[in-house]
Amino acid sequence: MKAIEINNLTVTLKGKEALRNISLSLDEGKFIGIVGPNGGGKTTLLRAVLGLARPASGTIRIFGKSPDEALKSGSVFGYLPQISKISPDFPVRVIDVVMMGRYGKVGMLRWPGEEDRKKSLEYLAMMGIEDLRNVPFGQLSGGQQQRASIARALAGEPRILVLDEPNTGIDVIGQEDFYHLLKGLQKKFQITTLMASHDIGAITAYVDEIACLNNTFHYQGSPVGALNEDVLTNLYGKNVDLLMHTDVCEKCERLRRT
């Protein structure tokens, strides 16, 4: 069974077609990058998969079910929204945020127990911020918040991880490490990963598939093919300079050494 199957999806937002004729079929355990300019519909596509945006036409199937049905089972999705606007004095510690990721699994009228706490700490450790567990979430830097939020998204042990611009707030050097980490998670847990990014250059080295989205798909397939001039012109307009990235970022290595 396919993890995600989308057929001729069109989504209208405020009378405008935000997405047009999108079809996508993704096997379980694959890592797909959705790239394209801001305003091109990346977030809308992710939201439609999560059942947060309604299709005007077309169908979406998550492991054969509609997104609404998939949501009811509690732990299908782990979701990292683009920006989690949290006021700095919201009374929540890092560990509380991560535990929240397990609420769907715990279920209504039950309380998270020792097992949930242990799992949450595990994911915090995996993201390298275990020592920040008792710090108020609002006091973390952007990058640390992002790591804690990914730990939250993973803590529910989802089958599909949906990440909307997860590199926001993480500096360029950190980004390479970050993509490595995501790749590692996908390999380790066989999580189907759907990641939106405006940065086509960096992610090609890490994803299994890439889809270039500007209102509709302009390219879909292996990451290498996306770096074609026609595709990029369709996507971002003319005069695009491309910086090639590989699994090992030489410039980062150079910067790290200095």
């Binding site: 059942g51 089972s73 509690g74 929204p81 919201f90 929540v92 609420y103």
Partner: protein, 267 residues
């Protein structure tokens, strides 16, 4: 050892109701502040006046008609806002004023001049009847129970609605439930500080607690603490200096808030 102020029976009733309602208001206040719902709180509490007037006009128990009417207004505001035709701000403003207007019209039509209008507007905890004590205690315990039962869902929904929805929490049901709880709490608290002042009790304890809270349990405990201390101290001051209890309670809460703000600034 109880201070002399609390030896009289009417003061003991007031103390019991005051403490119960303060615990409820303290708990609700946490989420009113975190969800930035203080304006809807003020709107709903003024709408309660319309509900009270319906009770007077129809010769029914004003607290019960007010619960029904206020819940309907709260859901009405939510419905109109969700349909997206009017902003929440405007829809609260409309419901707020029209309910007050309805109240004024109904009161002017009713022949019942003995009604304790002042008591509903500014609170009259010292004149509370035994039936009202029972009602307040039962409703407070019930609403507190419901909120604690769904605390983690309410908290997750407050943190981020979409994340909550994606983790399988029925966000709309939770929000509606909270709104009903808020409306019921407002009507029940009406007796102690009155319609005009109740929004203070829904905002000040939570806002004070948030100054120092690092997690939810601490914030709830601190908020309930502020509410209870304000009510008990306010009742005491009201007895000692023969001043209106509603005003004394709210001013005590305000003083605690200002003190907390000062202490926070010095840290």
């Amino acid at each position: 050892m109880m201070p002399e102020a609390f030896s009289a029976y009417f003061m003991q009733k007031a103390l019991l109701v005051g403490v119960m309602i303060s615990l409820l208001a303290g708990l609700i206040s946490v989420f009113v502040v975190l969800r930035k719902m203080s304006f809807i709180g003020a709107g709903i509490s003024h709408a309660a006046f319309g509900g009270v007037a319906i009770g007077f006009f129809a010769g029914l128990n004003p607290v019960l008609t007010s619960i029904g009417y206020t819940v309907a207004v709260a859901l009405g505001i939510e419905f109109v806002t969700r349909k997206g035709k009017v902003s929440e701000d405007a829809s609260i403003g409309i419901f707020f004023a029209s309910s007050m207007a309805l109240g004024v019209v109904l009161i002017s039509l009713s022949k019942n001049y003995t009604l304790d209008l002042y008591g509903y507007l500014f609170g009259n905890i010292l004149a509370i009847t035994e039936g009202e004590v029972m009602l307040s205690v039962v409703v407070s315990v019930f609403v507190i129970g419901i909120i604690l039962l769904f605390l983690k869902e309410i908290f997750a929904t407050t943190y981020n609605e979409e994340i909550a929805l994606v983790s399988g929490i029925p966000v709309r049901a939770i929000n509606t439930m909270f709104l009903i709880a808020l409306a019921v709490s407002i009507v029940i608290s009406m007796k102690i500080v009155g319609i005009i002042l109740i929004s203070a009790l829904l905002v000040i304890p939570g806002a004070t607690a948030q100054l120092f809270a690092k997690n939810l349990s601490f914030m709830i405990a601190a908020s309930c603490g502020v509410a209870v201390v304000s009510t008990v101290a306010g009742l005491f001051l009201s007895y000692e200096f023969d001043i209106a209890p509603g005003g004394a309670i709210v001013l005590t809460a305000t003083s605690i808030f200002l003190l907390a703000l000062f202490l926070k600034g010095r840290r």
